[in-house]
Amino acid sequence: MLRKVGLAIAALAVGTIGGGTPGARAADPIQFGAILPLTGPGAVVGTQEQRGIQFAIDAINAKGGVQGHKITVLFEDNQAKPDVAVLSFNKLVDLQHVQMIFTGYSGPTLAMAPLATRKKILMVNAGAQADKLGTASPYLVNTLPSTGDEVKVISKYLIEQGKKNAAVLYENDAAGIGGRDDFVDLFPKAGGAILAQEPTQFGQTDYRPALLKLAAAKPDVMYVVITAGMVQLADQLKQMNPSFVTAGSTFMSDPAAIADPNSTGLIHTQVQIDAPPELSAAFKATYGADMDFFARQYYNAAQIILTTLDKVLTEKQAVTGENLRTALFAIRAFHGLIPMEFKTNTATVPISINMMKDGKDVTIKQVTAD
């Protein structure tokens, strides 16, 4: 028995010694971290985020790295849980001395935010949209607008279209409740009224009871905040043949849902992030999956970091979280897959309003969030 304990400790020790070194000496590889949900319910999103980052890193390494330094990203699985995220954060920073960490999912990111502030580690979020993320830490930057921004845009559009009475279908977790709270707050301010709300469990794809209950309130529009199961929702909506319009946010833009002919007529805000066709094709060739929203977001975020790293190295500074952060705000405006500017910790990005039509997502209006 003691032998087994000893073995475990030995294994841990090996891991410690095998850790990386801080800073960047000539041609030393530079390590960054990424703490994403790679198993469990968040894995759908997490795996795409991971692929987006890896794709960007592989591309830059193929060109010889950043100023001769190869880049590696150490991926940790947070299982969408805050406590696992905190342990992973401490491990990456203490044992492997990373100075920048990619993060996704609001709960774990909020848990790590105080740590990032204390240890001066730059955290980049390119997937979570909780409103609190904008001010959670000076060291946390978000490359996409919060749900509140998207809700403002769609509310204004819906009122303009004469859809004043709304029902809300939301996922009963942090992302869904956040979106619901924003909509219930901002839609009336734009001139509308909320008639009914119904929650649905994450991963529960039987929306029929909730849809029936919401439809009974006779709304003009149903606002949807769910992060998984869009295809099933679209199919079940079609089955119901409702008299209301269905609207949502970027969460709705699941490629499978867009391709599904039953989704024709769904409108949603879309945080703009496009990938040139050659890039998408190359991504698909490598991973066998479409380069969806999250993959593009994290590819873009990785590029932002690489640009920032380049600046830090050019100015002959040590690669620390503090210097990376200073450089990021000094550069301020980035031209990756989409132009974005960091006036605050959250980038301003154009948001469009799209409608799904016969297997394609068509833009019907452009807006810039401020």
């Binding site: 991926f75 699985d77 009963n172 942090a174 409740i177 929650p199």
Partner: protein, 288 residues
């Protein structure tokens, strides 16, 4: 250094939970997959009192949490007294799922799915423990206290009574001992351990949400007890330390990233099966 500190701190908290689970499942034989729910209640209560408009100090909050968890654990294990072991499994699953539903939906009390961020660090008589070392010391102290308590209880005649109940409940009852009172008091003690662990957890992480107290967490607790060793003190210590280290150890092995994480969960599952087949008493336990 922080990594080691947080590892030891979390392990100490989980040892307390391991003691709690071992008491109920290993020693008394009440199969419970709802220990994470009690853990959660302890965490939410301490968080609530530390963040209230009129906050109270950490130790009194911990005491309140322990008291509530004692009551709750007794209540929750009551069905086990009426219902045979196998049926109670389902009841226990149900209790855990019900608790998760309450944690997720009772936004007023628990912050709902968003959780409770910004929980202040623990304080001893109004002196806050800001340092990672101090927090670890506090958790280790609580853990050691729990272990001593467990050891003494098991040594005492009461401990022998509990063991006897597991061996042959009917004989014990026939011998005139009060079986019901023994079981209930074991459940109470287990509840106290879990409640204290919850309070320490909340202040250590400064953020809690329902995902830390769900069915998966209960199953992890069960795994810790089974792998570490059922019914013994050493098992309750070994299990948490090993199982918390396991994911970190596994990251050292090179697996293609696309399914590395699923592979790790898979290894957990395989470990459970192998242990049950070849060493059901765990590393340092007695036969389950």
């Amino acid at each position: 250094m922080d990594f080691w500190l947080s590892y030891v701190t979390l392990a100490a908290i989980y040892v307390l939970l391991g003691l709690s689970t071992n008491l109920l499942v290993g020693i008394v034989g009440i199969f419970s997959v709802s220990q994470a729910a009690i853990f959660g209640v302890g965490a939410y209560i301490v968080a609530h009192f530390l963040m209230a408009a009129d906050p109270i100090s950490f130790l009194p909050a911990l005491a309140i949490a322990a008291a509530c968890c004692i009551a709750l654990n007794v209540l929750v294990t009551l069905p086990s007294l009426r219902v045979s072991g196998d049926y109670f499994v389902v009841t226990s699953f149900g209790i855990q799922l019900l608790a998760t539903a309450v944690f997720t939906n009772w936004t007023g009390g628990t912050g709902g799915a968003n959780g409770l961020p910004g929980i202040p660090p623990p304080d001893l008589w109004h002196r806050p423990l800001e340092d990672a070392w101090q927090v670890m010391a506090l958790c280790l102290a609580a853990c050691v206290l729990g272990c001593v308590c467990f050891f003494l209880v098991m040594r005492a005649p009461y401990g022998r009574l509990l063991r006897a109940i597991r061996e042959d409940e009917l004989a014990v009852a026939a011998a005139g001992k009060n079986v019901l009172r023994a079981k209930v008091s074991a459940a109470a003690l287990a509840g106290a351990f879990a409640g204290v662990a919850g309070g320490l957890y909340a202040t250590f992480l400064s953020f809690i949400d329902p995902s830390s107290f769900d069915l998966d967490s209960s199953i992890l607790l069960l795994t810790m007890v089974v792998v570490g060793g059922a019914r013994t003190l050493v098992g309750s210590i070994l299990g948490p330390f090993l199982l918390l280290a396991l994911p970190q150890v596994l990251t050292m092995i090179d697996i293609p990233t696309t399914f590395a994480a699923a592979m790790r969960q898979l290894i957990y599952g395989v470990l459970l099966i192998l242990f049950m087949l070849f060493r059901p008493q765990g590393l340092a336990g007695e036969r389950l």
